[in-house]
Symmetry: C2
Subunit: 427 residues, 2 copies
Amino acid sequence: MNETVNIGLIGFGTIGSGVVATLNQNIHLLEGKVKKKVNLKRIVDLDITTDRGVEVDPQILSTNVDDILEDDEIDIVIELVGGYQPALSFILKAMKNGKHVVTANKALLAKHWQEIMDCAHRNGVRICFEASVGGGIPLLEPLNEGLAANNIETVYGIINGTANYILTKMADLGLDFDVVLKEAQLMGYAEQDPTFDVEGHDTAQKLIILSILSFGIYVEEEKFHVEGITRITPDDIKFAREELDSVVKLLAIAQLDDGELEIRVHPTLVPQDHLLASVNDVFNAVYMVGDVVGPVLMYGQGAGMMPTASAVVADCINIIQDMERTVNYGPATSRVKKVKDMSRVECKYYLRITASDEPGVLHSISGILSDLNISIESVSQKKSEDEDAVPIFMVTHHALEKNIQQAMKIINKLDFVKKETVLIRLL
Amino acid sequence: MNETVNIGLIGFGTIGSGVVATLNQNIHLLEGKVKKKVNLKRIVDLDITTDRGVEVDPQILSTNVDDILEDDEIDIVIELVGGYQPALSFILKAMKNGKHVVTANKALLAKHWQEIMDCAHRNGVRICFEASVGGGIPLLEPLNEGLAANNIETVYGIINGTANYILTKMADLGLDFDVVLKEAQLMGYAEQDPTFDVEGHDTAQKLIILSILSFGIYVEEEKFHVEGITRITPDDIKFAREELDSVVKLLAIAQLDDGELEIRVHPTLVPQDHLLASVNDVFNAVYMVGDVVGPVLMYGQGAGMMPTASAVVADCINIIQDMERTVNYGPATSRVKKVKDMSRVECKYYLRITASDEPGVLHSISGILSDLNISIESVSQKKSEDEDAVPIFMVTHHALEKNIQQAMKIINKLDFVKKETVLIRLL
């Protein structure tokens, strides 16, 4: 074991502390695998005084990022600063200085993908980001390598732990979104500003990365449908379970249909016998279909200090095992001819319409749907404690998104409709 | 794309044909990824006349294995002959001649592991065998690389599609083992001689490979408990579902407990809310717990022409992407101090005792169990159509395997016990 690989860590927050803890705990395992000495040479953070609860030599702490970026002895830079800047500058400078980069920064990758990859390519370095999607789950490497013989046809992901935790608890306890969100915040499973997670943006960023690796195409978040879980109620979940034998999950969906890519994020009714329906609490899973292998699923903890650190350290090992390797990400060419407009997506829809309990309501609504070529598979009207309004639960046959959206506009403006209609797509 | 990588395929059976079909179908995808020309230069089989239903240049077919093993231009040899010999000789000769090897041959690896790995190491070549466990599921590479930062603590696998198909159909349809086996044979899901699959030997061979990669230790099949599913009846499955909210699965289990490795294959009662309980039909899944990442699960098709071909071709790509890489398999050192003797394993047990319907039976049995320090968690005696004998269903608290086996011996010899008692361990 003559050769030493030096690592520099930028960002000594939760994940950074997890990386240090993992290296402390399993360094002999790692060094045995790569047959080199692995040395965490420097940690840079603005705060180098707070105790992170992990053992660290104070000598390696610095507040000056150039102590890593300009240290010729450092081979691998781990970026765990997060956000767009200065993380982007750090990564680009590291690569320009010939350093391989490991990052968990999904937001940055989803936004600056091409710039980062071009820079890696120009400088002959690798950038690994297993931790950016699905946390500790080995996901991107299997997609790139273990499934390398496949054209990927379908990707369905439960890739936001916060949203999945909230939906699971709503289902288990019959509680409202707001109540569960507050509990999740207390438990540390949701941020104080939960928008990013519960509105689907985090899921969308991860889906952008999955789409690049699966289909060789980069699609900006603004170009696809992203919808969160804030309007789901226990009523929806109960109806889904009792009448449709399904559960509500926030799904990232990307699938190729005759050269057209469908890409979207929204709450989805997943049949109980689909493996994704059993992915609960903060767990994540990605279900993929390849043209050779058929369906595969990867499951595990999608966030958290140690699971994420597991992926970050695995990336380091991956790089160390082959420091000379050329960069390869996803398909070299894309089979995607165009991204399908959301208006042309077809699926079945669950609708919960809240209307006054008066004659003719169902007749009017069914007429509107029929005029837009939407046929109803089932309808159920329940008694409500609220005597002014009753929920009408409907499931449609396959219909066109454009038509459903048009129907929603008309229905929501009807006098007897008392609340905005809730719509959930079926898988 | 100047450089060409030449592949030789030995064994043009089902999987071999799948490999050819995959290369035909996705060669541009593969070449784009590795940025080299990938050429299937030679296929060797004793039978080179039967039409396999895949397009192949007749010029590359040969019956002489040395057309591959002694061709200096061939970089990678795919061994799909199966069995011990001549497969072992082919692999060893290929490696001695400097060729990398890809194989799906779990039996060979489970038996001749050390000899094969030593030979690979001496000759500086890689041997990849992703297809040997879990068919198309990316499993061994994620275990080696994506989870490289982890000490693996637990491995639970459903890794035999035939057994899982039979158990699933028995549960779904309430049919006897023999009936479902016959149907599985007609469907091509079970061999004419199904012993290898239904008695757990195939599962055991795969578990040997998983244990090497997870725990760095090779354990021969003769050294651990291997038990199949032939004695499971619909009664057991029904009781498990209704009273224990569990399903019966043939599990491969390997877990490290304070330096002692528990390794065993047997039917197991898996709680319905465990993800493995939802792995049905011919699908496989492996659930692992790492000390950093926590639990992860990989799921997909564990057998079949195309899924297996997917893994074989992925191994080729993996080798091509880095032809200079040093060989690395699993932990360099093992944390296993000893393999735990089955008699010292502790778990809960389900027992189905078939006894005459006469006074004192339960009193006798509970006395025997009590004397052996086995306490009963629940007991249930059902009416039977067979008036001579009734099934008594029991679930014990945690007990020692040695004591349970002793109790079985005594109980099975009692005059009023009419059939051998069925015992299933709880997960």
